[in-house]
Amino acid sequence: MSILAVTEVLVAQNIAFAIIAVGVVVAGVRLVTTENVVHAALWLVVVLAGIAGLYILLAAEFTAIVQVLVYIGAIVVLFLFGIMLTRARLGEGETVNKKMRAPALVIAVAMFALMAYSLWGYFGSTELEVMGRSTAELGQTTAQVADTLFLTYLIPFEVVSVLLLAALTGAIVLARRD
């Protein structure tokens, strides 16, 4: 901070954002267009890692770490296991896409136009001031997040615990050989 002027940091932030954004979008597009399931899972890793980078830009380090640990570390590995265990089904010549790309593309682009119009209309060029504010001021220290989770959202937290237990029990029953 002391070495770089604030404006230089801002420029650096914007450059970082631009690089991440391009990477995430390209990886996302490849994810939904590639014919190979394993490649799709690997593109998903790129997207998730890029998004973890965005969280750091937004001063939300704790969520960035959770993103890497849970999403990349657990969910993608789960995907890869799933693909590995069911790979035989993707026989040669069997395409993974339906024949409705054009209408789907139209829907996606139209939705984006609508969303972009609405978002720009509401938030316009509102500045996001991360610079010069401590994480405490941003309400994003790990302690503050913990307080929110365990005080304000105590009941949802307990609900998630039961949910994970139920998902565990049921998934074992469904996936096991019997």
Partner: protein
């Protein structure tokens, strides 16, 4: 940085995800596209949390990550069962031949 930078990027990811859900035929790939949408939601939440100086955004995002893990676990269990069931029919046939 503008707030909208993040929101628009999230919107792009959301739409890519919707495109994927509409075009994919493979269950696992549909699920990955849905993960894109969930991540778009999380970008929104974190960006709003920073913008509003409020820890709720992060808390919400953490809940979504936990739920996504449960969803993917369940989804892959169902996919695995679908697959195993079809293959297990073959295995039964092999067992019968062995007598």
């Amino acid at each position: 940085m503008l707030l909208n930078q993040f929101l628009l990027l999230a919107a792009v990811l959301f739409c890519i995800g919707v495109y994927g859900v509409l075009t994919r035929r493979n269950g696992v790939m549909v699920l990955m596209s849905i993960e894109l949408i969930l991540n778009a939601v999380n970008i929104n939440l974190i960006a709003f949390g920073t913008y509003l100086s409020d820890a709720t955004g992060q808390a919400f995002a953490l809940f979504i990550i936990a739920v996504a893990a449960a969803e993917v676990g369940v989804g892959l269990a169902i996919v695995l069962m679908l697959f195993r069931n079809r293959r297990s029919i073959d295995i039964d046939a092999v067992d019968q031949l062995k007598g």
